[in-house]
């Protein structure tokens, strides 16, 4: 009797945790579904004036979030290109030398960085990059995202290498390989699944960041590929749409896009992690 009661309690409580997720997903889906169309992804944000005209004429708001998607991809791309190799090297170092004092300091700093509020990373990047470059830019935005991704990639690399069987590393070294080659040829390839999952999760973690981009990328109303100029991003657009009464309708389409993107990344990461563990 007691067991049954407990089981029911656990079932109800775990169902409760799923409620917010499905509520959010449902709300965004219902409100954003109508806006998703081909042009939503290929056209930049409309001006407030055009949007107002469309609303007055009773038509759907023209334009889309192409400028945000392009900006997000450019900044994420640059951040990933730098964060992945540096993060992996650092993670490998931490996994191999856990007892060195320097490694302990780096490990501690990684934890601190992971806990640093993103708005602070934004303002720091503003001081470090935007001020010396005399302007907002995609570069500055990607630096902020890079800083946010770094600890996530370091940790996932470190953890994955640490859980590899010790025999793998020893077998490599027993054949006369030096530590760098054994790391490169044996340990890192064996850890690839975990590291790749970590990178995907890091991307999904920073793709929705808004605060640091406000200080660095600023935003831009047209599609732009220059990296030294202000640039848009999907989360920045959501914030802009919220602040402009004429564009508020677009919030939901942009949110839905972002949510689906993050969910896809997460599901892919989970799937890969599972596949790799078999």
């Amino acid at each position: 009797m007691k067991d049954k009661l407990m089981l029911w309690l656990i079932c109800i409580l775990s169902a409760l945790t799923a409620v917010p997720l499905f509520a959010i997903l449902g709300e965004v889906l219902l409100r954003g579904y109508d806006q998703l169309s081909w042009s939503f992804f290929t056209e930049p944000t409309p001006t407030a004036y055009r949007a107002m005209k469309a609303i007055q004429a009773g038509e759907p708001i023209p334009g889309g979030i192409a400028n945000g998607i392009v900006g997000t991809m450019i900044m994420l791309g640059m951040a990933v290109v730098f964060a992945v190799p540096i993060g992996i090297l650092c993670g490998a170092y931490l996994a191999e030398n856990p007892k060195r004092r320097f490694a302990k300091v780096v490990s501690y700093l990684t934890d601190m960085l992971q806990g640093t509020p993103s708005v602070i990373i934004g303002i720091i990047t503003y001081i470090w990059v935007v001020v010396p470059m005399k302007g907002y830019s995609a570069i500055a935005g990607s630096v902020a995202l890079f800083i946010m991704m770094l600890p996530l990639i370091i940790r996932s690399t470190e953890e994955t290498i640490k859980i590899l069987p010790a025999s793998l590393k020893e077998a490599g070294l027993a054949l006369g390989g030096n530590r760098a080659r054994v790391m490169l040829r044996v340990q890192l390839p064996a850890a690839f699944g975990g590291i790749f999952t970590g990178v995907l999760l890091a991307i999904s973690r920073v793709i929705g960041e808004t605060a640091p981009l406000m200080f660095t990328a600023l935003g831009c109303s047209f599609v732009r590929f220059a990296v030294d100029k202000p640039i848009s991003a999907v989360p920045l657009l959501i914030w802009e749409f919220f602040n402009d009464p004429n564009l508020q309708e677009l919030i939901w389409g942009a949110s839905l896009f972002l949510l689906l993107f993050v969910l896809t990344l997460n599901i892919t990461a989970k799937y890969l992690a599972k596949k790799w563990n078999q």
């Binding site: 025999s167 020893e170 077998a171 070294l173 027993a174 054949l175 080659r181």
Partner: protein, 255 residues
Amino acid sequence: MESIKPILEFNKTCVSYTKQTMAVKYVSATIDRNTITAIMGPSGCGKSTLLRAVNLMHNLYPNIRVDGEILLNGENILSMEPIDVRRRVGMVFQRPAPFPTMSISENVLAGYTLNGINLPKNERDATIERCLKSVALWDEVKDVLNKKGTFLSGGQQQRLCIARALAMKPDVLLMDEPTSALDPIATKHIEELLQELQKEVTILIVTHNMGQAMRISSKSMFMYLGELVEYGDTAMMFSNPADERTKAYLTGKMG
């Protein structure tokens, strides 16, 4: 001249994990060339520890100290570069550990890859064939050389690991309970294989299995609490152990 020198010689070898406790205490023994020598003893007696001293595995862990001498062809291993030692002293581990991301042929050649040596194609193929043949795996895998090594059965994986070690043409092959994770048939295959292999390489094998020691080794060491209690002809030791402790172990009164 070289053939007169023993291939491997322990001279008051000690290994300690901490300052207070010694895991291997003053072991002195001379290993004959092209023989199989078994190291026996109860769990925790230091047999694996002694084995791992021979290819300087302990260097990976800064707390572990190795003292005394271990001579390989008369040269003290402890003052050599680990990489040079490990190319000449191969090792096979308890659990088969083929590199999971490498194919069967890449696994055989892993020693060269990890040493940054690039063999020409014909030499590569010859090495793969020679090594897989010498572990009697060639006929089973010659059509699937590009498949991952981890697809093989446990016994096949262990033979692949032996092939991988042999590819470097080592003088000595260290084996740390290589069959304890295998079924009896796979074990039998490996034992037969080792009998053949001793013509090319000197084998030092740690085993928990007294029957195995009796079947394959010409000489045996019995270790207890870090000491080398007895070392001599296997047949002699099993029929007439000199030390009370060896006798107790061999008759199952101590394990």
